[in-house]
């Protein structure tokens, strides 16, 4: 750094010695205990997905979308990923149509609004903020469902990875998790479940909640209700670890410790996704199961 500065500023004076170069300046020593870092050049996202109708259902009402790209040029590398899981509601209200519309509508909006500008020869940044674009994308999906399958509803959990930021848009009770190298699970979403809320407040016991007639009631879902407001948040992407987005057919059936153990297995992401789905089916597979796993650049 010092040499660089002398050259850069073209001055004779020596740069003071005691300027800290920062704790990260020596190349980090590889830790052989963390096999799951993908350590690739250029740093990139590795994503895979798996889905199953489950053991007890006849229809698949889950839908998913996954887009992973790398864009490396001009000494810059910008990983871009967009992942969506949607879980359609109910049998008679065309849940599978609603979830399908949700992911198409959301994905086409994000691709046209964010991804295409990113690829343009003279990159332009959009006027709106990432959060506003995600918000509008969810609203578009909401409007499409209201228009095309009135009465239909779906959850939607979307994750946008752009550079070092991850932005989550979320409605309903599908979930997004970050899982670190130590296997610690951090839920990035909060279920919009009425009964869960009542349990949190001590208005219902866990036992009561398990048999509550409204235990599957969501207080927020796409295609249902006005006004409508998704949860949206952005945070810095961890330097390593994994992102998991899944429907309740996975998280409601497979315990978190098991999910974390499977995710941190030393196997490729597609095998992990399959193992997650298999685990849910082995536990009875009462619902449709969807999982998207993204290994973060590390």
């Amino acid at each position: 750094m010092k040499g660089f500065f002398q050259k850069l500023f073209g001055q004779d004076e020596t740069v003071p010695e005691n300027i800290s170069a920062g704790p990260n300046s020596p190349p980090a020593v590889e830790n052989s205990n963390t096999p799951i870092k993908n350590n690739l050049e250029p740093p990139q996202l590795l994503a895979a997905c798996a889905q199953s109708v489950g053991m007890q259902r006849e229809h698949n009402e889950d839908a998913l979308f996954a887009l992973t790209t790398s864009l490396t040029s001009d000494h810059s590398n910008l990983p871009f990923g967009f992942y969506v899981v949607a879980d359609g509601m109910g049998g008679h209200q065309h849940g599978e149509i609603a979830s399908g519309i949700a992911i198409r509508s959301m994905a086409s909006y994000i691709v046209s609004k964010l991804f295409v500008p990113l690829l343009s020869v003279k990159p332009v940044t959009p006027e709106e903020s990432l959060q506003e674009i995600m918000q509008t994308g969810v609203q578009e999906a909401h409007r499409s469902i209201t228009k095309q399958v009135p009465g239909g509803g779906t959850t939607l959990t979307a994750a946008l990875i752009l550079g070092e930021q991850i932005t989550i848009a979320h409605v309903g009770d599908s979930r997004a998790y970050l899982i670190d190298d130590q296997g610690k699970l951090e839920a990035l979403t909060r279920d919009h479940s009425l009964v869960k809320r009542l349990v949190e407040l001590g208005q219902l016991s866990i036992e009561e909640a398990a048999v509550h007639p409204q235990r599957n009631v969501l207080y927020r879902a796409l295609g249902q209700g006005e006004p409508f407001d998704p949860d949206i948040k952005t945070m810095r992407l961890p330097e390593s670890g994994s992102l998991l987005i899944c429907s309740d057919g996975l998280w409601g059936v497979v315990p978190e410790e098991e999910i974390s153990r499977l995710v941190n297995a030393d196997t490729p992401p597609e095998q992990i996704c399959q193992a997650l789905v298999d685990s849910a089916n082995a536990a009875g597979g009462p619902d449709n199961i969807t999982a998207i796993l993204v290994r973060l650049p590390g």
């Binding site: 509601m89 903020s129 990432l130 407040l201 009631v217």
Partner: protein, 638 residues
């Protein structure tokens, strides 16, 4: 698990957006203007559309010589099953008869009802006014405490009338802003007496009603009079905070007490609303009368009832008695911010001097004269103090005795503070250049033309330099002064950037707080302030704090860009908030230094100086230091 059980159901919400005339069957088409019902009610126009039909304004033709206007509420019975159809009509008639027996100034009078084919009609008193939802939507700011308390008392009155109805108590069940009208005289009228409810059940059988205003027990089917109390509390909460409960997780009012969002509201009224909103019905007011009593009591205590609310600021007089540990008087205003280093407080003044004071005692140590006012915050680096002055110079003096080391001349007043990185000081000036100056020699390494004055303090993080300009440009450049990216705000960026976890945050005079990806300049979120901001944001944990010339201190969730709380001072907030231990300290042009609990925005104390405060405090070793335009610098116990 059975498929049927698994089928999710949703909470009902009125789908007002769904236009009924889209129905292809034509069954649910609205009546046209000019239609006459029973040769008596001439439909004039639609005044509202609900899930089961429209509400019309109509003229009663039985009064040919005067214009008597009535409201016609229509309900369309679409049930196919004959038994269900007749039950719906019977329920409708029963409720119409019930309404006919009610006599209260806050309940619309019913004149008539009848059914025609699949449609039933209620003829009601026409209320000339607006519902509270419309009033909320049209209002730029919070609804005043005075109005909300007055309406709350009137609503308690009408609830009390309903709850004491004989032979059967009437539970309103659906108290919310859109069901409360304010008539032309400013009084409340409850509308929508649930007559439509039996109809809705058939429409989407899987849903039950909440719009964010209903209490937890309503989901167990136990809606008694205390459910109305809760919903009234929820309605008042919404009016005072403008925070729509339908957009929040249910039953979360306790997580956002009224004053956390709107600190102008009195503690007393907040307490009444919080009591009404208790999860456990037993902890709420036992009756509407009790709540009315409490509201009247609170309104008397705070003076809202006698309309002295407008000058009410003395609720926290205790804080006024705070005595400074020391104060020191300069010869002119102190508009800049103090710095602290090694037991000494350094502060610049409009009397052109940079002062060094003993931090513990306020004792004068030395001063260094420049030829212009000093508005920046001095920076200490390796035994030297770096600061700009309106005399166009960057001055570098020793921290111990104030002896000149070197000065660097720009072509305009220097109002930006310095940032030192990699052996160079980066500073903006009103000459429109960002200057990079070697800290040892005082010689310019380069200067970069930004096209307009730079008053924002540059920041260097990860070898990138960030700063804003008075023309609204925000630059990210490398050490070669090559622009990596540029962002354009609509107005000046005087606020200094802060970088946290790969995101750069700054405010703008265009009334927005921005969060941009530090590497690419992509906008992550924008938070709309009521007015311009020149404040440098402050970040602690998941919160970002800023101030605005709208007089408010804002606390915003840094991930979701949602407001956590605001605190209203009595004038512009131009200095920056700082957090020390559990407290947030911020000055205001109203002359006070405020100390707030940083998680909730609750006032701990405030200290009054004799002039506007425009700078930023600094807190060290349990003392907080602040300068004021009353020429003084104060040290207070943190």
């Amino acid at each position: 698990m059975q498929v049927e059980q698994k089928a999710r159901v949703f909470l009902e919400t009125h789908r007002i957006t769904q236009k009924l005339d889209n129905d292809p069957s034509g069954v649910t088409q609205q009546l046209n203007a000019g239609t006459t019902l029973t040769n008596r009610y001439l439909i004039q126009n639609v005044i509202g559309v609900g899930g089961m039909g429209a509400v019309y304004r109509a003229r009663d033709l039985h009064f040919p010589n005067v214009v008597k206007v009535v409201a016609v509420k229509e309900m369309i019975n679409q049930a196919r099953d004959e038994l269900v159809r007749s039950t719906i009509v019977r329920n409708f008639e029963r409720e119409a008869n019930l309404l006919a027996t009610l006599d209260h100034p806050s309940i619309p009078r019913i004149y008539d009802y009848f059914s025609q084919n699949e449609r039933s009609y209620l003829i009601l008193e026409f209320i000339n006014g607006k519902d509270l939802e419309a009033i909320l939507n049209e209002s730029e700011s919070y609804i005043s405490e005075e109005k909300v308390v007055q309406w709350g008392i009137e609503l308690c009155d009408v609830l009390s009338y309903l709850h004491n109805h004989h032979p059967e108590a009437i539970i309103f069940r659906d108290m919310k802003p859109s069901n409360v009208m304010i008539n032309q005289f400013g009084h409340v009228v409850l509308i929508d007496f649930g007559i439509a409810k039996p109809f809705q059940a058939g429409q989407r059988g899987t849903m039950i009603g909440t719009e964010g205003y209903s209490p937890p027990e309503q989901y167990r089917g136990e809606a008694g009079n205390l459910a109305d109390i809760y919903a009234l509390g929820a309605t008042m909460h919404h009016l005072l905070t403008k925070r729509d409960p339908r957009l929040e997780a249910p039953f979360t009012f306790m997580e956002r007490p009224v004053r956390q969002i709107n600190s102008v509201v009195s503690v007393e009224v907040e307490r009444v609303i919080s009591t009404a909103l208790q999860y456990d019905p037993k902890e709420r007011y036992e009756s509407a009368e009790a709540m009315k009593e409490a509201l009247i009591h609170a309104a008397r205590d705070t003076g809202v009832l006698t309309k002295i609310a407008l000058t009410k600021t003395a609720t926290h007089t205790a804080g006024e008695t705070i005595k400074p540990v020391w104060e020191f008087s300069c010869e002119d205003e102190v508009r800049g911010s103090p710095a602290y280093h090694d037991g000494i407080v350094y502060v610049g003044s409009y009397d052109n001097n940079l002062y060094a004071l003993n931090a513990a005692t306020g004792e004068f140590l030395w001063k260094y004269p420049t030829e212009g006012g000093i508005v920046c915050k001095p920076v200490v680096f390796e035994g030297h103090l770096y600061f700009g002055s309106e005399d166009k110079r960057l001055h570098v003096i020793s921290t111990r005795v104030g002896r000149l080391n070197w000065t660097y001349l720009t072509e305009g007043p220097v109002r930006s503070s310095s940032h030192i990185a990699e052996g160079h000081v980066f500073i903006g000036a009103d000459d429109g250049y960002l200057h990079a100056v070697n800290t040892i020699s005082g010689r310019r390494a380069w200067r970069s033309d930004a096209g307009s004055p730079i008053r924002s303090t540059p920041l260097v993080v990860n070898d990138l330099i960030y700063f804003g300009t008075e023309s609204g440009d925000f630059y990210c450049m490398d050490f070669r002064s090559t622009i990596k990216w540029r962002f354009k705000a609509k107005r000046a960026i005087t606020s200094s950037p802060v970088v946290w976890q790969g995101t750069v945050y700054f405010g703008s005079v265009d009334s927005t707080l921005y969060a941009l990806d530090a590497r690419t300049g992509w906008v992550i979120w924008r938070f709309r302030l009521n007015k311009a901001s020149i404040t440098t944001p402050c970040i602690v944990g998941d919160y970002i704090f800023t101030g605005s010339i709208d007089g408010q201190i804002y606390c915003i969730d840094i991930r979701s860009a949602k407001e956590v709380w605001t605190f209203t001072t009595e004038n512009q907030v131009t200095g920056s908030p700082v957090v020390y231990k559990d407290s947030l300290y911020c000055g205001s042009v109203d002359g006070h230094l405020y100390c707030l609990e940083f998680r909730t925005g609750r006032l701990r104390w405030k200290f009054r100086t004799q002039g506007p405060i425009t700078g930023t405090p600094i807190a060290v070793d349990d003392l907080v230091y602040i300068g004021s335009t009353d020429h003084r610098i104060y040290a207070l116990l943190a």
